[in-house]
């Protein structure tokens, strides 16, 4: 569904991604793990068109993405829930969700149905609909960010550090949600620092180091690898 071939991204002189190739099959949950600065977020940003690609190719459903502007990529059905959530804090929860559906020309009725669907997954958001997004708690904000992404009815959902900065109890809640989403046959790319959980959840995973893929394989297989255990799980 999504294939990245020999991707390179430079920030000025800094080479953030220096030739990474990844594949994501439809219906899979693919995890990308790696230490800080390994280039995980950069890959997601390159896919969604937020950073210019210096080399390589990104293909999505037979269409080349890396020449398209960001808003066109969203229209292809790729939702990106970025690190730090990027909510519209001044706007209400409902308005945030509306904006999540911006790229779709829903009719009123379709919109209501999608909204209902998303809200059954996150009941708390329905209660907070008229509240400013900025006033929500950290966990709630993350829920909203994911919900907003789902409003697109995406074909590919990319999540960047959804559990970052949350209390442990909230973290498990997020992963609960993720597995729930996964069950709905959505294709997901997940970038996480919680390597254990994310690999448990993943169908397939890539390990990134200084802008290169150093290891890949099914999530449970990788979880058994010594390198992973030493580097990320402290075992």
């Amino acid at each position: 569904m999504l294939s990245i071939i020999d991707l390179r991204v430079n920030y000025g002189k800094v080479r953030a991604i220096q030739g990474a190739s990844l594949r994501v099959e439809a219906g899979q949950l693919v995890s990308i793990v790696g230490s800080n600065g390994a280039g995980k977020s950069t890959i997601l940003q390159a896919i969604s068109g937020l950073v210019p690609v210096s080399g390589g190719e990104i293909w999505f459903d037979g269409e080349r993405l890396d020449r398209l502007p960001a808003h066109e990529i969203v229209r292809r059905g790729i939702a990106h829930v970025p690190e730090g959530r990027a909510l519209f804090g001044r706007l209400t929860v409902l308005e945030n969700l509306e904006l999540g559906a911006y790229a779709r020309q829903y009719t009123r009725r379709e919109f209501d149905r999608v909204l209902e669907e998303v809200c059954t997954m996150f009941p708390i958001l329905k209660k907070r609909a008229r509240q400013k997004a900025g006033t929500l708690s950290g966990g709630e904000q993350q829920m909203l960010a994911i919900a907003r992404g789902l409003m697109l009815r995406p074909r590919l959902l990319m999540l960047d550090e959804p559990s970052l900065g949350l209390m442990p109890s909230r973290v498990s809640q997020i992963f609960e949600t993720l597995s729930q989403i996964k069950r709905r046959d959505l294709t997901i790319v997940l970038v996480e620092q919680n390597v254990q959980e994310s690999l448990e959840l993943a169908d397939y995973a890539y390990v990134l180091q200084t802008g290169r893929v150093v290891l890949e394989g099914p999530g449970d297989v990788l979880l058994q690898q010594d390198m992973i255990r030493q580097a990320y799980l402290g075992m």
């Binding site: 960001a70 808003h71 229209r75 001044r90 308005e95």
Partner: protein, 286 residues
């Protein structure tokens, strides 16, 4: 000081407040969405006043009715400004942005001077003359009509900004370009829209003001400094804030005018500095 004077002052302040708000909204829209200060805003206003003036001279159109035409024309000018200048300096240092619009101001004022000389011009044929008297308070009809039009225009813009999909997208872009892109919003289009809307509102404001003021090439500068104060006071990116701030400045200006007219703009600027220092998000910022 008797009550009548106080009430009259307040009324006059409120009327001017709406005018200031309308003049400032476009500035705020553009800054809110792009973080670019449009120094040529005053020149846009001036050109709009000339459009209303010439329509009045040539076709006898009342300036208030010229508003759609001048709104359209200045909206177009806004679009051109964005396409030809702003787009090219967006990635440049902030200073280059400041100076590109400043250069445009100099250019447009000189152009007006070249085309129409520095003579003061006054709209002579207007349907709204005379004075309305209400409970002993007096207001020029033209001013009343202008205030009403300002309220109406602001209301329409408010509706657009808060109730339409494009309006919401503008707000989203104002909050974060990156987040807006992730929603599939074409930010480049939003920038263009903000310039069109910014131009159109100040274009309409200019037509309204044409019946109240003398028209000459540098008339815009008089308003634009006040407009900056209004925008800062109201908070960037907030239309409601701009409306309230316009009212506050109109009131302060008029009240200060009673006590120390020579210092009245100094008082406005002092307040303006106070606000940006202690409440940088504006008096009503969130």
């Amino acid at each position: 000081m008797d009550l009548a004077v106080i009430l009259q002052t307040l009324l006059s302040g409120v009327m001017m407040g709406f005018v200031y708000a309308l003049v400032s909204i476009g500035l705020n829209l553009i800054y809110g969405v792009m973080e670019i200060i449009n120094f040529s805003h005053g020149a846009f206003l001036m050109l709009a006043m000339y459009i209303a003036y010439w329509l009045n001279v040539m076709a006898g159109t009342d300036p208030v009715l010229a508003a759609p035409a001048s709104g359209l024309a200045i909206g177009l000018l806004g679009a051109l400004t964005y396409k030809l200048i702003i787009k090219r300096v967006m990635k440049a240092p902030a200073l280059a942005q400041v100076f590109s619009t400043f250069g445009l101001l100099v250019f447009l004022e000189a152009l007006a001077h070249f085309l129409w000389t520095a003579d003061y011009r006054t709209v002579e044929k207007t349907a709204f003359s005379g004075v309305v008297s209400l409970f002993g308070l007096r207001v020029g009809l033209a001013k009343l009509v202008v205030a009403a039009c300002a309220i109406l225009t602001t209301a329409v813009l408010f509706w657009f900004y808060n109730r339409t999909k494009t309006g919401k997208a503008l707000q989203a872009t104002a909050i974060s370009h990156r987040a807006a892109k992730l929603m599939g919003i074409d930010t480049d289009r939003m920038f263009l829209i903000s310039w069109i809307l910014g131009g159109a509102t100040v274009g309409m404001a200019g037509a309204f003001l044409a019946s109240l003021y003398n028209i000459f090439p540098t008339i815009g500068t008089t308003f634009v400094l006040l407009a900056f104060a209004v925008v800062v006071l109201g908070g960037f990116g907030s239309i409601t804030g701009t409306l309230y701030a316009g009212l506050i400045i109109g009131l302060i200006e008029n009240v200060a005018g009673i006590f120390a007219p020579a210092f009245k703009y100094a008082v406005v600027y002092a307040l303006f500095i106070g606000v940006i220092v202690f409440r940088p998000k504006g008096l009503l910022g969130r």
